[in-house]
């Protein structure tokens, strides 16, 4: 069955990247979706109809990367949106997310497109075949050339003098740190600052409008004593719900900020900060299981078992973690 057709996918309103042309082949004939805890994204049906690709639910199973023509995700901007572009697998994000998260540098227009609904999907006309990766050029003999820095030329020489070696080593260290600094600033700009801006805006509205008192009335009984915290932990880790609460840890981060605000106002004892840290994050990474196991090169059966197993174990140990933290919190910030 070689009935595959190419499609063109454009970015939706507020989206980033694209347009992508997806050309399935005999070997790359599957589309994997890792969205909303296993729910089918709205654009999937049209993509399957147009291309003839076989849909695969990434939450239920997995398939070898070589067979993937396309991945559909609903990442809020932390991890998933970078992982598949990094592997150079064309990626559709149904959320309007641009270059974001720790892997932002891999999110490029030629491999990633976001805010996609079925309206952005259309049959491609005269579809070009995907370009092959440019091959690395054969290394040339060491001579200074216009397209190569002196340091690069020196690094390729075989018999290096001591001075050259020292110089290159020092250069490498400096460059490593410089790159580290670039990455650090990039992290700030792509993830830290946007989150701060978003939460600050929320906090401003909540505090300024008087909603804050209403939130406090709900949160204080939950976060203000150990029983409430255990209950919060149990609720967060209910299998299924835990996967929905996960994406980008956004919900946990907002709850954390609100609980922190209550601690700051004196409504919640500072000692309870420790169990609260565990309670708000019992669902940690439940949305990410298939991708995380994929990173560990797990086989398909392992992912099928692992998704359920990790959700169960989160549920089974969540309350215990909160109690353990409570037990360890005595004497913390004691007056």
């Amino acid at each position: 069955m070689s009935d595959y057709r190419s499609i063109r996918v454009e970015k939706g309103p507020g989206g980033f990247g694209g347009p992508l042309t997806i050309t399935p082949t005999e070997q790359r004939n599957k589309v994997m979706y890792i969205t909303g805890g296993g729910a089918e994204p709205e654009c999937l049906a049209k993509i399957v109809e147009l291309t003839g690709l076989t849909p695969v639910n990434g939450f239920k199973t997995n398939c070898p990367e070589e067979e993937l023509a396309l991945v559909i995700i609903d990442c809020g901007g932390t991890l998933r949106c970078g992982i598949y572009p990094k592997k150079r697998i064309p990626t559709i994000n149904v959320m309007p997310v641009g270059k974001s998260g720790p892997m932002a540098q891999f999110i490029k227009e030629d491999i990633y497109v976001s805010a996609v609904t079925s309206e952005q999907v259309s049959p491609a006309e005269g579809a070009p075949t995907p370009k092959a990766e440019p091959k690395a050029e054969e290394p040339q003999n060491t001579r200074f050339t216009a397209d190569q820095k002196v340091s690069e030329t020196l690094a390729k020489q075989e018999n290096k003098s001591l001075v050259t070696k020292l110089g290159l080593a020092a250069g490498k260290v400096v460059n490593t740190f410089y790159q580290a600094a670039r990455d650090a600033i990039q992290t700030c700009i792509t993830t830290l600052l946007p989150f701060m801006a978003f939460v600050s805006m929320l906090i401003g509205v909540i505090n300024g409008s008087g909603f804050g008192n209403a939130f406090a009335a709900i949160l204080t009984p939950l976060a203000g004593n150990i029983f409430g915290l255990v209950a919060l932990g149990v609720i967060c880790s209910i299998p299924g719900l835990s996967a929905l609460l996960g994406p980008g840890a956004v919900i946990a981060q907002i709850v954390g900020t609100l609980v922190g605000a209550e601690i700051g106002k004196g409504n919640v004892a500072p000692q309870l900060a420790l169990p609260a840290l565990f309670a708000i994050n019992c669902q940690g990474a439940c949305d990410f299981i298939p991708v995380g196991l994929g990173l560990a090169e797990a086989e398909t059966e392992t992912i099928e078992v692992g998704v359920v197993s990790v959700m169960y174990s989160r549920f089974a140990t969540g309350w215990l973690r909160v109690l353990l933290a409570y037990a360890a919190s005595f004497g913390l910030y004691a007056a």
Binding site: C188, G260, G264, S309
Partner: protein
């Protein structure tokens, strides 16, 4: 008329408050974190994956090494999400268990080492800000977060072995307990 003026002033006030909050975070939190990130990114780049891979091969045999030591070191050296890739040195059966532990390690150590999971830092920072607002030092909280995390994450990882056995029975699948070299 006064009503409209008050309404407009009230509306703008919401965003002034938000702006103040934003400013205090940017000046109070960002500089330290950037400095730490620079150092830790450099350490990760220099020592990085090879060191952890060597350690991983030693650690697979024993539960304490597998769910407490290895994920701790991986999280510290590789950060989230690359720490999860170290699971590839485990037999299939242990991969979900390692995942369960390593993902938690990417949070509980975040108080002292923000480079591990900078994009989800606010789980820690949100609560820690409350402590700062009271004029208290957050370091004792961060240290306890890490230590309790070490124990709790070990338990969570180990418990996953039992849930994995349960799910294996449910689905009628048996995962390999032996490590197979990569295909």
């Amino acid at each position: 008329m006064d009503f409209i003026v008050n309404l407009a002033a009230g509306f703008m006030n919401l965003f002034t408050l938000g702006g103040q909050q934003f400013l205090s975070w940017v000046t109070g939190i960002i500089p330290t974190i950037v400095m730490l990130l620079v150092l830790m990114n450099a350490v990760m780049a220099m020592a990085g994956e090879k060191t952890v891979a060597r350690l991983a091969k030693v650690c697979t045999g024993n539960p304490v090494l597998r769910y407490a030591v290895l994920p701790f070191v991986s999280a510290f050296m590789l950060g989230n999400p690359m720490a999860l890739s170290i699971g590839k040195f485990m037999p299939e059966f242990y991969k979900p268990c390692y995942y369960a532990s390593a993902t938690y390690h990417c949070h509980t150590n975040n108080g002292l080492f923000p480079h591990i999971n900078a994009s989800e830092l606010f789980i820690w920072l949100g609560i820690a800000n409350g402590i700062t607002a009271l004029g208290l030092d957050t370091t004792p909280l961060a240290v306890r977060y890490l230590l309790v995390g070490l124990v709790a994450n070990f338990i969570s990882g180990w418990a996953t072995e039992f849930t994995t056995k349960m799910v294996e029975k449910q689905q009628g699948i048996t995962l390999s307990r032996e490590f197979k070299a990569a295909k």
